[in-house]
């Protein structure tokens, strides 16, 4: 148990030292993207991986975080640090509304997935049609160098910001997974009716899961907006966003802490590589994503981490089996 903590600590230190090994801005940008995808996918993981409520519309919360901080900064000159918190609060309110409607009326399985997809489209259309959100034009954010306004001159600072945010989100997920809430969520995922009959308040637990998941996803949205300095409705509320949030957790392993990390670590460089080699063809990296999605679900339905865990478990069983055999003789 303690050994694994030390391993995690070494891994974190190693990641933190990464910018010291290279001054190649492109690699640092990739590092930022990996951590950012790990963050949003981990946030999705809480609702969909642990609680089994499969959201196809996490762009709802992502876009909320992005737009909240951007609007507050551009229109009211409020720091995105505060915008991040306000965005998370708005995301919680939206999550509770969607959660209330979905769980109160017992939307389950694919119906819940399609429902969240529809909610994301509704938000996209509303933002796209309101002058307040600058309609389809999107929002261009100011460039500056005031850290209090989430503006950093060096990319390395962005790297550390997203590193800290990702660690926080991961720790939250970890503590949830070890808490009563986490056990309740897993029980709901495995068999909702059974969980309810054993006294788990499934409605309340699912509401908590969607609120936490939504709030954390919105933090990713705020970071995205402040890092890329431009947002518009399709790149924040679009279906592609929801897919890119889902993909790392699916590939790495849903319902595991390390899954979203593993997934992001593979997906991001792969996407960049294909864009690099097939730069002339827009869409090649999405083709690769589609292929990965199909292959992973067909051949690795538990994801990479799940697959490794299964291997380790089998090995242990084998060892125990051998030990038993020896003991018998």
């Amino acid at each position: 148990m303690k050994k694994s903590y030390i391993l995690y600590l070494i891994a974190v230190v190693f990641i933190a030292l990464f910018p010291l090994f290279t001054d190649n801005q492109y690699y640092i940008h990739m590092g930022i993207l990996i951590l950012y995808y790990a963050l949003v996918s981990q946030a999705w993981n809480i609702l969909s991986g642990y609680a089994g409520q499969f959201s196809f519309g996490h762009a709802i919360f992502f876009g909320t975080g992005a737009y909240a901080s951007a609007i507050l900064l551009v229109k009211y000159n409020i720091s995105p640090w505060i915008g991040m918190i306000i965005g998370a609060v708005v995301a919680i309110l939206i999550a509770l509304l969607i959660g209330f409607l979905s769980f109160r009326y017992k939307l389950r399985g694919a119906y819940f997935s399609l429902g969240t997809l529809a909610f994301a489209e509704i938000l996209r259309i509303i933002v796209q049609n309101m002058d307040y959100f600058n309609k389809t034009l999107g929002i261009l954010l100011p460039i500056g160098s005031n850290p209090l306004m989430f503006q950093f001159e060096s990319r390395i600072t962005y790297f550390y910001v997203i590193l800290v945010l990702t660690i926080i989100v991961t720790l939250i997920t970890y503590f949830i997974s070890k808490s009563r809430l986490g056990f309740n969520l897993i029980a709901i995922r495995e068999n909702e009716d059974a969980a309810q009959s054993l006294g788990v308040n499934t409605f309340k637990n699912k509401m908590m899961a969607i609120a936490i998941s939504g709030a954390l996803t919105s933090v990713g949205g705020t970071f995205y907006a402040q890092y890329l300095l431009y947002i518009d409705p399709p790149t924040t509320f679009g279906n592609d966003v929801s897919v890119s949030i889902i993909l790392p957790a699916i590939l790495g392993g849903m319902g595991t802490i390390l899954g979203p990390f593993m997934g992001a670590l593979i997906i991001v460089p792969l996407g960049e590589l294909t864009s690099h080699f097939f730069g002339g063809f827009a869409g090649v990296h999405l083709m690769v994503y589609g292929l990965i999605l199909v292959l992973v679900i067909l051949f690795l339905p538990e994801g990479l981490v799940g697959w490794f865990q299964e291997k380790i478990r089998l090995r242990k069983l084998k060892k125990e089996g051998k030990a038993n055999d020896i003991a018998k003789t």
């Binding site: 009326y105 694919a110 429902g115 309609k135 063809f281 827009a282 083709m287 679900i297």
Partner: protein, 290 residues
């Protein structure tokens, strides 16, 4: 809103609704038999549009003459997808099936993007008047043709499922797969055929759409969500419900387009969707329960 505008948009909505119905009938057939919610239906429709476009562009073929071509091509693509991918997913949970068809969609859409570029392409039909006037209302000929086809195909499919051996086997499989296989129905074969027919219907819808809708790699995305709405509205697994649902969505969208500014008309579809999901998940006409 003047009465004329009202009736004009009503007619436009009904005609467009036929196409929605057609995409949705394929979707509901696939769901009814295999319990798979096929996200790729919109991408398959897009492929049907390209079959027609290329026949028109390279050979100057009249779009309506390429109808059998796109139907047959999509039948085999659909049956191939079922055989190669979805058959392996028979016992997987709902969300994994959705994800696989989503992955197929991503792949197919972006393959089309790479091969055909994101350009919007259009075909023209020679020898047809653009509109027919009736009581001061303009009816788009190509939309009318699409609607008539949609109605005939829905009725044809209905009788195919009622009267033919394969149709009865498909229905038997959708009601009780194990029972059907006990009395000698080859379930796997029925699944290929049903998926193939579902895909062929998407292809036909695509072809019928080309004369009045731009062909582009991402065109399926806007249709697939509407098709889901239509299917849920009509009741999963209910064909005639899908056609009626399609018309309802077409009409609500057309009227929304007149009443609401900008692209807010699209809001109608999703609001209806969520209301139906929450209040009447088995569809307006009952349909099968899950």
């Amino acid at each position: 809103m003047s009465a004329e505008l009202f009736f004009q948009s009503l007619i436009d909505g009904i005609l467009m609704g036929g196409i929605y119905g057609l995409v949705a009938i394929g979707l509901t057939l696939i769901f009814g038999v295999m319990k798979i919610i096929n996200f790729a239906q919109g991408a398959l429709m897009m492929l049907g549009m390209y079959v027609t476009y290329w026949c028109f562009d390279l050979m100057g073929l009249n779009p309506y003459l390429s109808l059998p071509l796109s139907a047959v091509a999509l039948f085999f693509i659909g049956a191939g997808l079922q055989r190669g991918v979805l058959q392996r997913m028979a016992d997987a949970p709902d969300h994994n099936q959705l994800l696989v068809t989503l992955g197929i969609t991503l792949f197919v859409e972006n393959l089309a993007l790479v091969l055909f570029k994101p350009d919007f392409r259009s075909v023209t039909v020679d020898g047809l008047p653009a509109t027919i006037s009736l009581f001061n209302l303009n009816i788009h000929t190509t939309k009318l043709i699409a609607f008539v086809f949609a109605v005939f195909l829905a009725i044809g499919l209905f009788f195919f499922l009622k009267k033919t051996f394969i149709g009865r086997a498909i229905r038997a499989t959708s009601i009780n797969g194990q029972g059907a296989s006990l009395v000698g129905v080859n379930i796997k074969r029925i699944n290929y055929i049903a998926f193939g027919i579902g895909a062929a219907l998407a292809g036909v819808a695509g072809t019928l759409l080309t004369p009045f809708f731009y062909t582009s790699p991402t065109v399926g995305a806007s249709f697939i969500l509407k098709a889901f709405v239509v299917v849920v509205l009509g009741g999963l697994g209910n064909f005639l419900g899908a056609l009626v649902g399609g018309i309802l969505i077409g009409v609500s969208e057309a009227l929304g387009g007149v009443l609401l500014p900008g692209s807010l008309k699209d809001l109608m579809t999703y609001l209806i969707f969520i209301l139906i999901l929450l209040l009447k998940p088995n569809g307006l006409f009952g349909g099968k329960t899950r």
